[in-house]
């Protein structure tokens, strides 16, 4: 059993290397941001452990500095994080039968953990549940350690890492490409791309995600027949 876990950890680690680069960069940036906003490192540490979702954590800094508005905070959190609903629906089968680990897998289902756990080809001799567990755990550790480090060091850090966050873009491009190479037709990827791009232009960078999700859902539902017929899904 122990050997099982070690093998799963070894198989999982290479998949998380780009996340390490991206999460340390973003996590440290987030920690520094909290530090210069006047919060001790306990805040980024605790928030990165419990929320584990980058975009909301950045936004939470300004919410903590604004007048107390718990209901608004809750609603904003729901809206920003709504895409996780899609991840959950896609992972219903993959997370099934993973025992107690399932609770942690769902708790730690950020964009990056979802993307790797959905798309990675797990070798046959590796326990799938433990593989996904370690992908999630490693990503969590990268994010928390980066945030705490940034919070401790604050603005002492000097770095010319401009452009490093592109590592996340590059990773999602590769994952999308791998997905496209697996399918014969690309109806649903095309729907995702066109709807998201159109909503970005129409609604702007800060509020395009919800309409994009709605549009994707609508079109996937409307074209269910042809998409299922094409045999991709």
């Amino acid at each position: 059993m122990r050997g099982n876990k070690v093998a799963a950890l070894k198989a999982a680690f290479p998949h998380t290397i780009p996340i390490f680069a991206g999460f340390w960069f973003l996590g440290i940036t987030y920690g520094v941001y909290m530090n210069v906003s006047g919060f001790s490192f306990w805040y980024p540490l605790i928030m990165s452990i419990t929320i584990f979702g980058g975009s909301l954590e950045f936004l939470a800094v300004s919410m903590l500095l604004s007048p107390f508005a718990p209901l608004e905070t809750f609603l904003v959190s729901l809206m920003i994080q709504a895409r996780h609903l899609f991840y959950g629906i896609a992972m219903l089968d993959k997370y099934a039968g993973t025992g107690l680990k399932k609770l942690y897998l769902i708790f730690g289902m950020c964009d990056e953990s979802f993307s790797i756990n959905y798309s990675a080809e797990v070798p046959e001799n590796i326990d799938r549940g433990w593989f996904m567990f370690f992908v999630t755990l490693l990503n969590h550790i990268y994010w928390v350690s980066g945030a705490a480090l940034g919070g401790l060091l604050g603005s002492l850090i000097e770095f010319n890492t401009e452009g490093l966050s592109f590592v996340m873009t590059a990773m999602f491009v590769v994952i999308l490409l791998e997905q496209l190479l697996k399918e014969r037709r690309h109806y649903t990827a095309a729907i995702g791309l066109v709807v998201s791009a159109a909503c970005l232009v129409g609604f702007g960078a800060d509020s395009f995600l919800l309409p994009a999700m709605g549009g994707i859902l609508l079109l996937l539902t409307a074209f269910r027949g042809p998409i299922e017929k094409a045999g991709d899904v």
Binding site: L75, S77, R83, F166, V174, L177, T188, L217, T221
Partner: protein, 109 residues
């Protein structure tokens, strides 16, 4: 300035909102009863659309009217795509694309 208790509640609301979106599908559709066909279909059809959406999400703050006009992103993404189709090595594609992008935004644009 919020009190410590108010800060605690504010962070708690962020956690609650996040966890609700992560746990809800698993609470609604349990292992015990079969998942509706429509939801099963969505589970298969959504991921390619989601990955496309995430790529757009990463590029949301690129402004085609200023700075590099989106050129560094275009060049780096094209490189990632070509390199990946050629070698099919995930880490290599990501590393080269990121290094090229950093070089472009730090020195050229």
């Amino acid at each position: 300035m919020m009190t410590l208790g108010q800060q605690f509640i504010t962070i708690g609301m962020c956690v609650l909102g996040t966890m609700l979106t992560r746990f809800l599908p698993f609470l609604v559709f349990s292992d015990k009863k079969p998942t509706p066909k429509y939801i099963q279909y969505l589970g298969r059809a959504l991921p390619p659309a989601i990955f496309a959406m995430l790529v757009v999400y990463c590029l949301k703050d690129v402004n085609v009217a200023y700075g590099g006009h989106g050129l560094p992103e275009l060049i780096a993404i094209s490189t990632v795509v070509v390199l990946h189709l050629w070698k099919r090595k995930m880490l290599l594609s990501i590393a080269v694309g990121t290094a090229l992008y950093m070089l472009l935004v730090q020195t050229v644009f």
